[in-house]
C-alpha cells in the first residue's frame, strides 16, 4: 500500500518541481557543457554567472547547462570548488568549457548507486579501486584482485582450482544462514553471483563471477555504510560492489592491446612422509597399541607390494601451468557517438593437471547523443568461461594426494598394462574422467536519458542478463570396467535476470548557497533460472557431450518427447519491486546532507512481510573549506562525514516461506508418491541492519599524504536461521527470522597514501590500509551445537564472534606414556577425552587485516608491489586430524610436521604417541570426534601479493613507431608467504556447503588446494 501512495505522489511532486522553472523571464539563452580538463568527465554543480551579476545557474549531472542572460552580457564566469574559476567570453549560443582541478583528491568522480558524485560531496563510505589494479595480476576471478586494496574489505582469495571464487566480507559478517556476500552491481544491474547454484558439486562452488572480464572494468566502487548502500535498501546490508565497465572517450580511435604470458604453480604445499616411512610409522602405531607381528594394511594390500612402492601422488597430479591472456580494445568518440569495444581471451591452466579456466569476452559499449537532450546508451557484453575441472578436496584428485592415496599404493599394475585398482588411485580419474563446466553470460542494457527541461534528467534503463551453464562430465570406459562404453552426463541450467528502472534526477539551486539534487526512481527485477526435471541428462557413449552435441540433443529431445516427458522447471525465481528516492542538499559547498529512502518488495519475503522500508541519512562537512582553516597550511583537505541508516539483507534463496510438498519422481508400486519436504514460514523477511559510520578524510602537505580514518558500528537483528529445529519434528531446517537475535560488527579502518618523492623523473609512493573488525553475537538463544559450519567445528555462541572454534583443549603429551593430556571445561588436566570438555578456543575471523603497497618510478621504469596481511584469528585443520591419524585404521597420508611425536618413555614431543585405533586415546569416541586444539593454528600471515617490474618506452622513442604508448612488464603473484601455519597455504577458501558454511567456516581447511603462485610477463600497447 505504501508504494502505491508513493507512486501516486510521484508525478505530483515532479510537477511541483517543474512549475518553479517556468517563472523566469528571458533575453538570450546560452547552452553548453562543462567538463573536467583532465579526463573529460562532466562537471556537475559548476556555478555559472554572468559577469557583474549575482544571479546564475549551475551545471547538471552531465555537465550541461542552460542560462538565460540579458542580451548585453559579454562574459560568463564558471566556478566550482576544487576547480577554480574561468571567465569565458561569449561568442555564440553554445559553449563548451573545460575546468582544471586544483584539488584532485576532492574531485575524483565516484560512482554511487544510480549516479555519480564528486568525492567532496560523497557522504557515504565508498572505496574505489581502479580498473588498472583489477587487470594487473592474473587471478582466478576478478574479485580476488581486490585483496589488500580497500580498507575493511576482507578478501580471501580463491584456492588453487582454476576459476575458483573468493570470499569477500565488507566490514565483517552479520548473518548466520543468509549469505554474507555483498551485492554485485554491474553498470547499474544487480547480477547473479550466487556461488551455490551447483551447490558443492565436486568440492568446488561454481563461481558466477569468474566469467566477468577483468579487462572490461573501468573501476570498482565498494559501498560500505548505509549512507552509500542505503539506496539499495533490502540488499545493502553486506555492502555493494559496483562494477563500472569502460566506455568510449572522445577523440580519434585508440586501440590498446595487452597480454600476459607465464606460468602458474602453487604457493605452499603440505609435505608427507614417503612409502617406506609410512610403513614404518604404521608399524610403530600397531606396536604402540599392543599388537604384535606385522601391522595390517588397508584393504589387506600385501606388504610385498606396499614395501616395494613409493608413489608421489602430488607429482603425478600437478604441473607447471601455462597462463595465456590477451585483450584488445578500441575506444573512439565524436560528440555524437562514443564507442568502446573489447575482445579478450585468457587461459589459465593452473598447477593441477587437466585443470584450466578459459575466458572469452566481447564487449561493445556505445553512447549516442541523438539530440542535445537525448542520449541512448548501449551496454553489452558476452562472456564465456570454460572450466576444465578436476576432482578436488573430499572429491578426490589433489585431495586424494593429501589424504587416502597412500605412497604405498601403486598407480599402475606391475606390467603397467592397467591401473592398480581397488585402492585410492587418483590417476585413474585424472586420465579417464573429464569435466567441463561452461558458463556463458550475456549482459545487455539499453538506457535512454532524456532531459525534457533544464536540470531534469529522466533515465530509463532496461537490462537483460542471460546466463547459460552446462556442467558436463564424462567417465571413460576405464573408470567403470563393467560399462565398456563410457558415460556422459550434462546438467544444464539457464537464467534470465531482467531489470528495468526509471529514475528522474532534478537539480534545484534556489540561490547561491543552496543546491539540491533530487532523485526518484522505480525499479523492478525479475529473475528466473530453469533446468530440466531430469537432471543430469545422461547417455552411455564413448565421447563427452561437448564433443558430440548431436548425441546430447538426441537424448534430450527423446526425454522431452517421452510418454512422461521431462519438462523445464524453474529452479529459482525471485522478483524485486522497488521505489526509492534520494535528496542531496549542499549548503555553501561545505555542508552536504543526504537523505535516502527505499521501499523494497520481494517475492522472497513471506506473505506477512512483503515490503520493507529502508531509510538512511548522511552528512559531510568539508572543514578545509572553512575560512578558519585557510591558514592551517599543512591541511589541504579535510572532510568529516557520518551516516546512519537501516538496510536489509535479502540474500537468501527463493520461495523459502512456502510449505513444500513434492511429488515424488519415483512411484511406489506404480502409484504416485508425495513428500512433505519443508515446513514453510509466511513470516520470513529480510535481516535488518542498523548501521552507523563516522569518518575523517584528509589530505595533508599539499595532498602528499592522503587518507581516511573510519569507524563503524553495525548491528544485524532479525537474523535468518535455517537449521536448529528439533529433529523429532522430522525436519532440521526451516528458514525463519530468529526473535531476540543480534550480531554486532564494529570496527576501525585506516588507509593512507604518502607520496614520498614527487619529482619529474622520480616518484615514490607508499600506501596501505588496515582494518580491525570486532564481531560479536550479542543476542542468541540456541545451544552451541545448533548451528555449525558445514561439517566443521565452528559454532554460533552468544558473546563470541560468528564462527568460533569449539574444541577440546590439548594440553600436551605425557612424557611417561605418550598419551595426550586434555583440559576439561574448568581447565583441569585430564587424560580422558570427552566432548563435554569442549570450550571456545578461537575464531576464524582475523583481528586485523589489510595491505600495503609501494610504487617507485624512475623515468620509464616502475617497480610496484603489494603485500597483504592477516593478524590474529585461527585456522582449524579439519583434515589435519585425519592426517595425524594417517597410520591408524583411518589410513591417510601422514604429514611430516607430525613426526614430532612420542616414541618412548621420557620423550618430550609436540604430538602424542601414534595409535592404530584412535580409541586407544582414552575417551575418544571416533576419528570424527577427535577435534581439539591439537589442530588449531594461528591464521596470521604476510604475503607478497604482487611484485611488478615495468618499463614504459619514452614517448619520444615511440614517435617513429606505430605506438602511442608501450609498456612491458613482469609480474609475480603470491611470490612470498610468511606464516607459521604448518598445513601449507594459510589463505584458505574451502569448498562450502552453503552460505552458512561460508559465513562460519572460512579458514577451516579440508584438503584445500593451495592458492596459485604465478609469474607472468606481458605488454600494454596503445596505438
Amino acid at each position: 500500500m505504501r508504494k502505491k501512495r508513493l507512486l501516486a505522489r510521484t508525478p505530483v511532486l515532479l510537477c511541483m518541481l517543474l512549475a518553479t522553472l517556468f517563472s523566469y523571464a528571458q533575453n538570450k539563452t546560452v547552452t553548453g557543457k562543462v567538463t573536467d580538463a583532465k579526463d573529460g568527465s562532466p562537471l556537475a554543480g559548476v556555478s555559472i554567472v554572468p559577469k557583474g551579476s549575482a544571479k546564475g545557474t549551475t551545471s547538471g549531472v552531465d555537465g550541461s547547462f542552460r542560462i538565460t542572460v540579458p542580451a548585453a552580457t559579454r562574459t560568463l564566469i564558471f566556478s566550482s570548488i576544487g576547480f577554480g574559476s574561468k571567465q569565458i567570453d561569449l561568442s555564440g549560443d553554445v559553449i563548451d568549457v573545460q575546468l582544471s582541478a586544483t584539488n584532485t583528491a576532492m574531485n575524483e568522480v565516484i560512482v554511487v548507486g544510480y549516479g555519480t558524485q564528486r568525492k567532496r560531496e560523497v557522504t557515504g563510505a565508498i572505496s574505489r579501486v581502479g580498473g588498472d589494479k583489477i587487470s594487473e595480476i592474473p587471478v582466478p576471478s576478478f574479485e580476488a584482485a581486490l585483496e589488500g586494496r580497500a580498507p575493511g574489505v576482507q578478501v580471501i582469495s580463491g584456492n588453487g582450482l582454476a576459476g575458483s571464487g573468493s570470499v569477500i566480507r565488507i566490514r565483517g559478517v552479520g548473518s548466520i544462514s543468509a549469505s554474507g556476500d555483498p551485492l554485485y552491481v554491474v553498470d547499474g544491474v544487480p547480477i547473479i553471483a550466487d556461488p551455490f547454484i551447483r551447490t558443492n558439486s565436486g568440492a568446488m562452488n561454481q563461481n558466477p563471477l569468474s566469467s566477468i572480464n577483468p579487462n572490461d572494468i573501468e573501476s570498482i566502487e565498494i559501498l560500505k555504510d548505509a549512507g552509500a548502500t542505503g539506496i539499495y535498501g533490502s540488499r545493502g546490508a553486506n555492502g555493494v560492489v559496483l562494477i563500472t565497465t569502460k566506455r568510449g572517450k572522445s577523440g580519434t580511435p585508440q586501440f590498446s592491446y595487452s597480454n600476459k604470458l607465464g606460468i602458474a604453480t602453487y604457493t605452499k604445499k603440505q609435505d608427507f612422509v614417503d612409502g617406506p616411512q609410512w610403513l614404518q610409522l604404521r608399524q610403530e602405531a600397531w606396536m604402540n597399541d599392543g599388537h604384535t607381528g606385522l601391522a595390517t594394511l588397508p584393504n589387506n594390500i600385501p606388504w610385498a607390494v606396499a614395501s616395494q612402492t613409493n608413489t608421489n601422488w602430488w607429482d603425478l597430479l600437478t604441473q607447471k601451468g601455462f597462463i595465456n591472456d590477451h585483450s584488445l580494445s578500441m575506444s573512439a568518440g565524436t560528440s555524437k557517438l562514443k564507442t568502446f569495444a573489447n575482445l579478450t581471451y585468457s587461459n589459465d591452466q593452473g598447477y593441477l593437471k587437466k585443470n584450466a579456466y578459459t575466458r572469452m569476452g566481447v564487449r561493445l559499449n556505445m553512447d549516442y547523443n541523438v539530440l542535445s537532450n537525448l542520449k541512448i546508451s548501449l551496454t553489452s557484453a558476452y562472456n564465456r568461461g570454460i572450466n576444465r575441472r578436476v576432482h578436488a578436496a573430499w572429491d578426490g584428485g589433489i585431495g586424494d594426494a593429501m589424504s587416502s592415496a597412500l605412497p604405498i599404493y601403486p598407480a599402475y599394475n606391475a606390467t603397467h598394462s592397467d591401473y592398480y585398482r581397488g585402492y585410492t588411485n587418483p590417476v585413474i580419474a585424472l586420465n579417464e574422467y573429464q569435466r567441463r563446466q561452461t558458463d556463458s553470460r550475456v549482459l545487455g542494457g539499453l538506457a535512454v536519458e532524456y532531459q525534457p527541461i533544464h536540470n531534469l534528467f529522466v533515465r530509463a534503463n532496461y537490462s537483460l542478463e542471460y546466463t547459460r551453464s552446462n556442467d558436463d562430465q564424462f567417465n571413460g570406459p576405464q573408470l567403470d570396467t563393467s560399462i565398456h562404453s563410457g558415460y556422459a552426463q550434462r546438467s544444464p541450467n539457464w537464467g534470465t535476470n531482467q531489470t528495468g528502472n526509471i529514475t528522474a534526477n532534478y537539480l534545484w539551486n534556489p540561490g547561491e548557497m543552496h543546491k539540491f539534487n533530487f532523485l526518484l526512481g522505480v525499479e523492478a527485477q525479475d529473475y528466473r533460472r530453469k533446468g530440466y526435471t531430469k537432471d543430469p541428462i545422461v547417455d552411455y557413449t564413448n565421447k563427452p557431450f561437448w564433443e558430440n552435441p548431436g548425441d546430447y540433443k538426441r537424448v534430450r529431445d527423446s526425454l522431452l518427447s517421452a510418454p512422461a516427458p521431462m519438462t523445464e522447471l524453474a529452479q529459482e525465481m525471485f522478483t524485486f519491486n522497488s521505489f526509492f528516492g534520494r535528496i542531496n542538499y549542499t549548503f555553501h559547498d561545505k555542508y552536504s546532507l543526504q537523505v535516502i529512502g527505499r521501499v523494497d518488495g520481494s517475492s522472497k519475503f513471506g506473505t506477512n512481510h512483503k515490503h520493507g522500508f529502508f531509510p538512511a541519512v548522511s552528512a559531510a562537512w568539508n572543514i578545509s573549506d572553512e575560512s578558519f582553516m585557510k591558514n592551517i597550511t599543512p591541511i589541504s583537505y579535510l572532510k568529516l562525514r557520518a551516516s546512519y541508516g537501516v538496510v536489509g539483507n535479502a540474500n537468501f534463496g527463493s520461495g523459502l516461506y512456502y510449505d513444500k510438498y513434492t511429488l515424488g519422481a519415483n512411484s511406489y508400486v506404480g502409484r504416485q508418491t508425495l513428500y512433505y519436504n519443508y515446513p514453510g514460514n509466511p513470516d520470513l523477511q529480510w535481516e535488518t541492519l542498523h548501521n552507523v559510520d563516522a569518518a575523517a578524510e584528509f589530505g595533508l602537505f599539499n595532498n602528499r599524504l592522503t587518507g581516511e580514518i573510519a569507524y563503524y558500528y553495525k548491528t544485524t537483528s532479525n537474523l535468518i536461521l535455517k537449521p536448529g529445529l528439533p529433529p523429532s519434528t522430522g525436519f532440521t531446517d526451516s528458514y525463519r527470522n530468529l526473535p531476540n537475535s543480534k550480531i554486532l560488527n564494529q570496527g576501525l579502518e585506516i588507509s593512507a597514501n604518502l607520496k614520498v618523492i614527487e619529482e619529474k623523473d622520480l616518484k615514490w609512493s607508499v600506501g596501505g590500509n588496515i582494518a580491525r573488525n570486532q564481531n560479536k553475537v550479542l543476542k542468541y538463544e540456541l545451544g552451541p551445537d545448533a548451528v555449525s559450519g558445514g561439517t566443521n567445528d565452528t559454532r554460533i555462541v552468544k558473546g563470541l564472534p560468528v564462527g568460533v572454534n569449539y574444541l577440546v583443549r590439548f594440553h600436551g603429551v605425557d612424557p611417561s606414556d605418550g598419551l595426550p593430556i586434555w583440559l576439561d571445561k574448568n581447565g583441569k588436566e585430564t587424560k580422558t577425552f570427552s566432548l563435554d570438555h569442549r570450550t571456545y578456543v578461537g575464531a576464524v575471523q582475523p583481528d586485523y587485516f589489510g595491505g600495503f603497497n609501494t610504487n617507485l618510478q624512475y623515468k620509464g621504469f616502475e617497480l610496484s608491489s603489494l603485500f597483504t596481511f592477516v593478524i590474529g584469528g585461527n585456522i582449524y585443520e579439519n583434515s589435519g586430524k585425519y592426517q595425524f591419524l594417517g597410520v591408524s585404521k583411518k589410513f591417510w597420508n601422514f604429514r611430516k610436521d607430525f613426526l614430532d611425536r612420542w616414541t618412548k618413555p621420557g620423550d618430550v614431543s609436540k604430538y602424542p604417541r601414534l595409535v592404530a585405533d584412535v580409541a586407544s586415546y582414552p575417551g575418544v569416541p571416533s576419528e570424527d570426534q577427535f577435534n581439539s586444539t591439537m589442530f588449531l593454528r594461528s591464521a596470521s600471515y604476510l604475503r607478497m601479493r604482487e611484485l611488478t617490474i615495468a618499463y614504459r618506452v619514452p614517448r619520444a622513442a615511440l614517435k617513429k613507431l606505430f605506438f602511442k604508448d608501450f609498456r612491458v612488464f613482469a609480474t609475480g603473484t603470491n611470490l612470498l608467504t610468511f606464516s607459521k601455519y604448518p598445513g601449507g597455504d594459510p589463505e584458505i577458501t574451502r569448498d562450502f556447503e552453503n552460505s552458512q558454511d561460508r559465513n562460519l567456516s572460512p579458514n577451516i581447511s579440508y584438503l584445500t588446494a593451495p592458492t596459485q603462485k604465478t609469474f607472468v610477463f606481458g605488454i600494454n600497447a596503445n596505438f
Partner: protein, 463 residues
C-alpha cells in the same frame, strides 16, 4: 507538453507496477502447498504412498535400523569400522553422528507425515478414509516402536517403565517436546496399532503380494511389541491370528526372503520397482560381500558358532572365502531386493517362544512351530524336538533358531535386552550388562540445542 509526457511515463509505470501482488508472488515450481495437498484426495493418497518409500529408505527401515542394531549387538567384528560406525559398534555413541541422526530424522518424518494426514483425515473421501487413517496409525506406531527400542532403556528396565523414552509425537508441530516415559510410548504404540488393526483391510488386493499395509502387519507388530514387553499372552494371541489368517507361508528356499518377488513370508513387503523406488539399500551397502569387501562381517568366534552344523541349509548365508579375510554374510548379495517388514518366520518364532512361556496347551503349538522351522533349516526332521520337550528346552532352541534365522536383520540386540529384562541374565557375548548406557543410542545433539532442557542419555559404561 514535456510535462505531460513525463507524467504519462510515470503514470504508465505506476499502472504497470500496480499489479505487484502477482509480481511479488513466485511460489517454488514443482512443489505443492499444504492447501494444495489437503484439499485434494489424490494428493493425500500420494502422501500416504510416499510413506512406504520413507520406511524402506536406506536411512530408516531399509537397513539402517537393522545394521545399527547389529553393530550394537555381539556378532560383528568392528575393529576396522571408522567414524560413527565405530562409535556405535563400541557402544560409545556420542552426541554427533550422521548415521544415527539421519535415521532419527527419517523415522520422525514418517511420524510427522502420518500426523499431518491424521489431522486432515476429514479431507479424505469417505470410501477410503478408514484405510488411509489405518495406515497412518500403523506407520506412526511402528516408527515410535523402532525408535524407543534404540534410544531408551528397554521395557522392563524398571518396574513401572518410567525411564525416559523418546519424544512422543501425536500431532504435527515444529516445537520441541520432552521425552515421554517408555511406558507412555508403548501405550501409545499399542493404541495406534490396535486402531490400525481395526481400520485396515485383511487383504492388500494385490494378489497376495502385500505391498501395502493390512491388518496383519498391524497385528504382527502388536505381536512384536508385546513380545518385547515379555507379555506372552498377547504376543501369542496376535502371532496366532497372523498365522491363522493363512495369508502367508514359510519360504522353502532360504534365498527367497530378500529376493525380488519370491517370498511368501512377508507380512508387509516393500516393493521394488525398476527405475523407481528400490528398498533395502543399506542392507546391501553394508553387508554385500560379492562385489566388494563387506563393511560389516562377523567375528571368527561367532562365525564358527553359526556355521558349526554342516547340515544347516542356512550355511548358504555365510562365506569366508567369497572375500578372503572376511567372515561374510551373503544374505544381501543382490543388486536389488524386495524387503519384508516382518516375516512369517519371526511370527512363528514369537508364537513358539510365547507358547512355551505360557505353557499348557500352548506348549504343543510351540513345539509344532519350532519343528517347522527346524525341519526347513536342516532339510528334515533330524533336529526336531520331541513333543514331550520341556518348555525351557523349547525356549532355548527357539532362541538359538531365532538368532540364526534372523542373522543380519538387526534382531539380536533386542533379544539381549528382552531376555535381560525377562530373566536378569546377560547374554551379550561381549560381556556388557543389558542395562549399560552405551547399549542405547545417544539422541542427536540438535534436540538439546533447540531446547536446553531436553534430556540426553548418559553415555559409555559398556564393553
Amino acid at each position: 507538453m514535456q510535462l505531460y509526457k513525463l507524467s504519462l511515463i510515470l503514470i504508465t509505470i505506476a499502472l504497470a507496477s500496480g499489479s505487484c501482488s502477482k509480481f511479488l508472488d513466485r511460489p517454488p515450481q514443482g512443489q505443492l502447498s499444504k492447501s494444495d495437498v489437503f484439499t485434494n484426495d489424490s494428493n493425500i493418497v500420494a502422501l500416504n504412498n510416499g510413506i512406504y518409500t520413507l520406511i524402506g529408505d536406506g536411512n530408516f527401515m531399509g537397513g539402517r535400523v537393522q545394521f545399527i542394531s547389529d553393530m550394537l549387538a555381539d556378532q560383528l567384528d568392528g575393529s576396522n569400522l571408522q567414524g560413527d560406525f565405530s562409535e556405535i559398534y563400541k557402544r560409545q555413541n556420542s552426541i554427533f553422528g550422521g548415521t544415527r541422526d539421519d535415521m532419527y530424522k527419517k523415522a520422525y518424518l514418517v511420524i510427522t507425515t502420518a500426523n499431518n494426514i491424521l489431522e486432515n483425515i476429514d479431507a479424505v473421501s469417505a470410501d477410503h478414509r478408514g484405510y488411509i487413517k489405518g495406515q497412518s496409525l500403523f506407520f506412526r506406531g511402528m516408527a515410535h516402536f523402532e525408535l524407543v527400542r534404540l534410544f531408551a532403556q528397554p521395557y522392563g528396565y524398571s518396574s513401572d517403565n518410567s525411564q525416559p523414552g523418546i519424544p512422543l509425537r501425536v500431532s504435527a508441530s515444529l516445537n520441541s517436546i520432552p521425552r515421554s516415559t517408555v511406558k507412555q510410548v508403548y501405550d501409545q504404540v499399542i493404541a495406534d496399532l490396535k486402531s490400525a488393526d481395526s481400520l485396515l483391510p485383511a487383504d492388500a488386493g494385490d494378489g497376495g503380494k502385500f505391498y501395502t499395509a493390512t491388518k496383519w502387519i498391524a497385528e504382527a507388530y502388536l505381536a512384536k511389541v508385546y513380545f518385547q514387553q515379555n507379555d506372552f499372552a498377547n504376543a501369542f494371541k496376535y502371532a496366532d491370528q497372523v498365522i491363522n489368517s493363512n495369508k502367508f507361508q514359510l519360504d522353502a528356499d532360504f534365498t527367497s526372503r530378500f529376493s525380488l518377488g519370491l517370498t511368501k513370508e512377508a507380512i508387509l513387503r516393500l516393493a521394488n520397482q525398476v527405475g523407481h523406488f528400490q528398498p533395502g539399500s543399506e542392507y546391501i551397502n553394508n553387508w554385500r560381500s560379492d562385489t566388494k569387501p563387506p563393511v560389516l562381517y562377523f567375528t571368527s568366534q561367532f562365525y564358527s558358532y553359526a556355521t558349526s552344523d554342516p547340515a544347516d541349509r542356512r550355511l548358504t548365508w555365510f562365506s569366508n572365502t567369497i572375500k578372503p579375510g572376511f567372515n561374510s554374510l551373503t544374505k544381501y548379495n543382490f543388486n536389488f531386493m524386495e524387503e519384508p517388514i516382518t516375516h512369517l518366520t519371526e511370527i512363528y518364532l514369537i508364537r513358539a517362544e510365547a507358547g512355551a512361556e505360557l505353557g499348557g496347551a500352548n506348549l504343543a503349538t510351540s513345539i509344532t512351530d519350532i519343528n517347522q522351522i527346524l525341519t526347513r533349516a536342516y532339510g528334515g526332521t533330524s533336529h526336531n524336538l520331541s513333543p514331550a520337550s520341556s518348555a525351557s528346552a523349547v525356549i532355548s532352541v527357539v532362541r538359538t533358531q531365532r538368532e540364526l534365522e534372523m542373522i543380519g536383520e538387526g534382531n539380536r540386540l533386542q533379544e539381549i535386552k528382552r531376555i535381560g529384562a525377562r530373566t536378569g541374565t546377560n547374554i551379550d557375548r561381549r560381556g556388557s550388562p543389558w542395562t549399560c548406557n552405551g547399549f542405547i543410542l545417544q539422541f542427536p545433539k540438535a534436540e538439546q540445542d533447540a531446547n536446553a532442557s531436553f534430556q540426553l542419555n548418559p553415555e559409555g559404561g559398556c564393553f
